[in-house]
């Protein structure tokens, strides 16, 4: 009876104590996993989250990197809106993307289908040979391509001259330079894309393809009606990385074309690099990184929306 009467007063304290004990028990119980995953979150906070915030403050200042910084509010962003070099680099990346990504993705799909064929021997060897450029330093690869694509004495033009083709200004003309850059990128990334598609193909049940074949579908029909629709997740993954990768290119244009001719092959990251490290405009470079990131996020979301919208009828949820 007495115990019963005392309970209402003691309850909040007991509950409080109980809650604290539960928290301690929970911490004890989950201490191991939290400690195991801690390094990532600490490093991410210090070297990525904090800099992103710090960058906001940098982008509101005019600063050479040394001495006092001058607060300019949105001045950097206002300048950036009218910066033809920066928006030109966005356009360059967009053009470059359109030049090489559709061709490369299609080629990767076809190659993966060929590699996936049941009769094919030495699949591992072919895959390795096509993949090889991907582990090469892009600085080294860029120089070799520059050597081979030299207008006057490069190997490509010397080879083409046997067929009576007059010298092509591979690196000296705006459009040819973009195409050359695209060639280097296809060389470097075709194997990676092919292996992604191949991994996707291996998840398609072979009975599906057999059934289609029995029904009289030819290779092109199977490719268009079965392979491509079923590989949608892999295509989405590969194209998303191609978008991010193309706008973030640096090494390839830096080595192969040095951004030229007349700035036709600069990319947003190239511009961030030159304004920060060559012209020492740190605040401006920070503002540029923000806008570049915003553009990438918008493009990626748009691409997800576009590709998920045109899901074939009956397959959607």
């Amino acid at each position: 009876m007495a115990r019963h009467a005392a309970e209402p007063a003691a309850l909040p304290r007991a509950r409080e104590r109980g809650r604290r004990r539960a928290w301690i028990v929970a911490f004890r119980r989950y201490r191991a996993p939290y400690l195991f995953i801690l390094p990532f979150f600490v490093l991410f906070a210090v070297f990525f989250l904090y800099p992103i915030g710090f960058s906001l403050s940098l982008s509101l200042h005019e600063w050479s990197g040394f001495g006092p910084a001058r607060f300019v509010g949105l001045g950097n962003y206002r300048l950036l809106l009218r910066d033809e070099l920066f928006w030109g680099s966005m356009l360059n990346a967009t053009i470059l993307f359109l030049i090489y990504v559709p061709a490369m993705t299609l080629l990767a799909l076809v190659l993966a289908s060929v590699l996936h064929s049941r009769y094919l021997r030495l699949q591992g060897l072919w895959r390795a040979l096509i993949f090889l450029p991907n582990i090469t330093s892009m600085v080294a690869a860029g120089y070799v391509f520059r050597l081979m694509l030299d207008t006057d004495s490069g190997l490509a033009n010397r080879f083409l001259s046997f067929f009576g083709v007059s010298p092509i200004p591979w690196l000296d003309d705006i459009w040819w330079a973009r195409i050359s850059l695209g060639l280097l990128l296809v060389w470097a990334w075709l194997g990676w894309n092919t292996v992604i598609m191949l991994a996707g193909l291996q998840t398609i049940p072979p009975e599906l393809l057999d059934a289609a074949r029995v029904d009289g579908a030819n290779a092109v029909q199977i490719f268009r009606r079965i392979t491509v629709p079923l590989l949608r997740p892999q295509i989405l993954f590969a194209v998303t990385l191609s978008i991010i990768g193309t706008y973030s290119l640096f090494t390839e244009p830096f080595v192969l074309t040095r951004g030229g001719p007349v700035q036709a092959t600069t990319t947003p990251v190239y511009q961030v690099f030159t304004s920060t490290f060559e012209y020492a405009k740190v605040g401006y470079g920070a503002a540029m990184s923000y806008v570049y990131f915003a553009v990438i996020v918008v493009l990626t979301l748009f691409q997800f929306w576009a590709l998920s919208r045109e899901r074939p009828a009956g397959r959607g949820r």
Binding site: F47, W187, G191, S248, F250, V269, F293, I296
Partner: protein
């Protein structure tokens, strides 16, 4: 009718092999040209008429190792890549184990956050990170800016988690019943059984770090701390007379170790570089 079908399928086969051979040749050609050119004198690189060097010379390599101190740069690259690989593989294994084999409050949210961070390109933080490295950490011209920020990274943790999901819980519980501490279980049990996964990740990290260019170019300012790709970029000389002779020798030095690594361990590498494409 069967004859027609047989002939047609032979034709398709032949075409497939032909296409694969042609593409492989195109992929390999730049390596061959790089190697051949590295043994040619400067004038022959441009005016030569044969694929193989007419007057083979080691002068390009001699100049690379004597004037540019390439051996030191190879060592710098190796040092950065090896140190990074050792540290990152260990920390990523820890993170992967935490996410794969424990249930804890917030796990789903934290793992989703980790995956989302993979979509943030490095260039977004390059400028502020450079200022931090220079003004606060004083890490310019040291290997640390190349190593520490990525020592526990989202991709590696994701990769190791996928691998460690298949470790049987019974094995871990048995060790717990025997009174082993969580750290001891991780070091003595989890790491040894994950060896193949760790190897794949290690090779992958090593190659990526060996070839890294943009960030090393920003933070490695003096000559003697440069890595091989940064050395190559500084070798090119004045516009108009690019030193392609020495550059080709340098490119071979940069590419060859990765090529050998790839030929020995290509299955590991391809698996690592393309992980994440197929989600079960």
């Amino acid at each position: 009718m069967t004859a027609v079908r047989v002939r047609r399928s032979t034709l398709v086969k032949a075409a497939s092999y032909l296409a694969l051979a042609a593409i492989s040749a195109l992929m390999l050609f730049p390596f061959a040209w790089m190697l051949a050119s590295s043994f040619k004198p400067f004038t022959e690189i441009f005016a030569g008429r044969s694929f193989l060097p007419e007057q083979p010379t080691l002068a390009n390599y001699a100049s690379l190792f004597q004037q540019s101190d390439a051996l030191r740069k190879v060592w710098n690259s190796f040092y950065v890549a090896a140190l990074y690989t050792a540290l990152a593989v260990f920390l990523c294994a820890m993170g992967g184990y935490g996410f794969a084999k424990f249930r804890f409050p917030g796990r789903g949210v934290l793992f989703g956050f980790l995956l989302a961070t993979m979509a943030v390109p490095f260039a977004v933080v390059m400028v502020p990170l450079f200022i931090m490295m220079r003004n606060w950490f004083h890490w310019i011209d040291t290997p640390w800016p190349l190593i520490v920020p990525w020592a526990a990274n989202a991709f590696g943790i994701f990769f190791m988690r996928q691998y460690m999901l298949s470790i049987p819980d019974d094995m871990l519980d048995a060790a717990r019943v025997d009174g082993a501490s969580e750290l001891r279980i991780f070091l003595r049990l989890v790491l040894p059984v994950s060896r193949p996964g760790l190897a794949s990740l290690a090779i992958l990290f090593f190659v990526l770090k060996w070839n890294d260019f943009l960030w090393p170019l920003a933070v490695l300012r003096s000559d003697e701390v440069q890595t091989v790709p940064v050395m190559l970029a500084s070798l090119q000389g004045p516009p108009g007379r690019t030193a392609f002779d020495v550059l080709m020798a340098g490119s071979v030095v940069s590419v060859l170790p990765m090529l050998l690594l790839f030929l020995l361990l290509q299955r590991h590498l391809v698996v690592g570089l393309t992980a994440g494409a197929v989600r079960e």
